[in-house]
Symmetry: C2
Subunit: 314 residues, 2 copies
């Protein structure tokens, strides 16, 4: 079933120990959409500038992504400049040019209105809430955010959190949002803020999901967390978009399934890790554009082998 | 089969956000021996002072641990003072009084000579090598070390590494030993230094084992790492000895099995995590003294549930 994603489609200029790229296609919605497109149809809502060419759009449409919600505004696209030269674990932001993104007003095309899955990528929570309210009949809403919104836009973010089925953030963000160092206690507090389920990404160590009483249907209670592995990689070329690609693999798989069961959720966590591990192998979205379904399934199998006791029965 | 462990039996004075204890029984060999004792017979070689009473010794002997290798020296036992008040992830050492440990010369009792498994806990690599050379017929040698020996005693440590079947250290130590930030590349370099297998502990994120061509018998090649989970804990009372308890559970299980297969190794990694997770629940060795085999098996099952896709078939 279709996922509607609202977020940034942008250009990134990136330095890593493996080299540098200038103005490559990036943005949270781009990484998410490409990763999710291997599992389910995806529709994008974003704003781009005049520098966004037909060639850039083809990166999305070649993967079957619906781009009717891509608005063209007068100006340049959102441009982020970052460096991982000092640490591959955390980007050092060298520049953020919002450009046309500064006045982004998400508009939902009529053809998108029947989307059953909504993904609110990391943007202003006011915009996230606005999109959410215009999609009252979605089956599931998953959202992301970041330290900036947590610190300075807490009240607006709180409104979004109350509307989420799944919140998908990283360790530091979870701890910051809860004001609690211990991850289990932090997760408990975050779940009390609204999300039915919390997925916490640990970068090179995988991801953990924390469940609440409303995570699944009646009668199904998941009393303990679930932890998905990450693939130890000998070469991380560019970490940009790894988290968004995790989200795309995770939510894309979820949306492809008829029902949300604990087994489906676990499998989705694994596919999230799989897509995140591909994303970092090349600069920008290059690897996500070119990966094959066979490679995805093979890596899924590898994820089981690196984490399961008895893979012969898996 | 019996494990011989050589290392420190000491007293710890510990501050954590949950309180403080003064001169509780601790030391790497103590934590290791207690954790391993749930799986296989354990024999200890260490030196203690006059402050080590019959009551302290009974903590070990009640678990069936052979203490004939406990040497009594004239003076006080090794005493470590540390604080986790600022961070539960890393101890701040406030004091290290080596006392009788400063002149420790491990002596192997005749009755210990038939031990088939040797664990060299974190002590001077010169002593580790000496013990290793006196046990030429052991079936397997597993060892630990720390940043101090890596930085300042590299040549001595190199000799020990060449004699190890399994080296068991944490992330930072692996990166430091290899002089390489990327963990996969660091592991490759460490394996070239001698150990057949490297187990890297990630604290709250579990542990990963990296295999070489000689990790298993002829014809068995493990081409990818194996990652064991850690239990997300709402309350960490005292992290002291978590790594040694991991080692005890890991090696204790290994030594209890007739053969070293990949499946046995994976299961051992899980038992390591299980014993590490118990160790931190109470101050000092209290939880390790009182845990039951039923609790261990129950937690092992929980470890599978938090990390396996399909636990109904496990």
């Amino acid at each position: 079933m279709s996922i509607l994603v609202v977020g940034s489609v942008a250009f990134d200029s990136i330095q890593t120990p493996h080299g540098a790229v200038d103005h490559c296609l990036g943005g949270a919605a781009t990484h998410f959409a490409l990763a999710a497109s291997y599992f389910t149809p995806v529709r994008v809502i974003a704003v781009v500038g005049k520098d966004f060419t037909a060639e850039h759009e083809a990166v999305l449409t070649r993967r079957g992504i619906d781009t009717r919600g891509l608005e063209r505004a007068d100006g340049l696209s959102f441009h982020w400049t970052g460096s991982y030269v000092n640490s591959l674990n955390e980007a050092q932001t060298l520049g953020t040019d919002l450009n046309v993104f500064a006045n982004f007003e998400p508009k939902i095309p009529e053809a998108y209105k029947d989307s059953e899955y909504l993904f609110l990528a990391n943007i202003d929570p006011v915009l996230q809430a606005r999109v959410r309210s215009q999609m009252p009949n979605v089956k599931m809403v998953c959202g992301d955010t970041m330290n900036y919104w947590i610190a300075d836009h807490a009240a607006n973010l709180a409104k979004v959190l109350r509307e989420l089925d799944v919140l998908l953030i990283n360790d530091g963000e979870a701890r910051m949002l809860a004001g609690e160092k211990n991850l289990v206690l932090a997760a408990k507090k975050v779940l009390e803020m609204g999300p039915k389920t919390l997925v916490v990404k640990h970068g090179e160590y995988g991801a953990t999901s924390f469940f609440g009483d409303r995570s699944f249907g009646d009668g199904i209670k998941a009393s303990h967390p679930f932890r998905a592995p990450a693939l130890p990689l000998a070469e991380v070329v560019d970490p940009t978009g790894a988290g968004d690609s995790f989200a795309g693999g995770f939510y894309g798989y979820l949306a492809s399934q008829p029902e949300l069961t604990p087994a489906v959720f676990r499998t989705a966590m694994f596919y999230g890790g799989v897509m995140g591990s591909f994303a970092v192998e090349k600069f920008g979205t290059e690897r996500l554009q070119g990966v094959t379904r066979e490679e995805i399934d093979e890596r899924f199998k590898l994820f089981m082998e690196i984490s399961h006791l008895d893979t012969t029965r898996a």
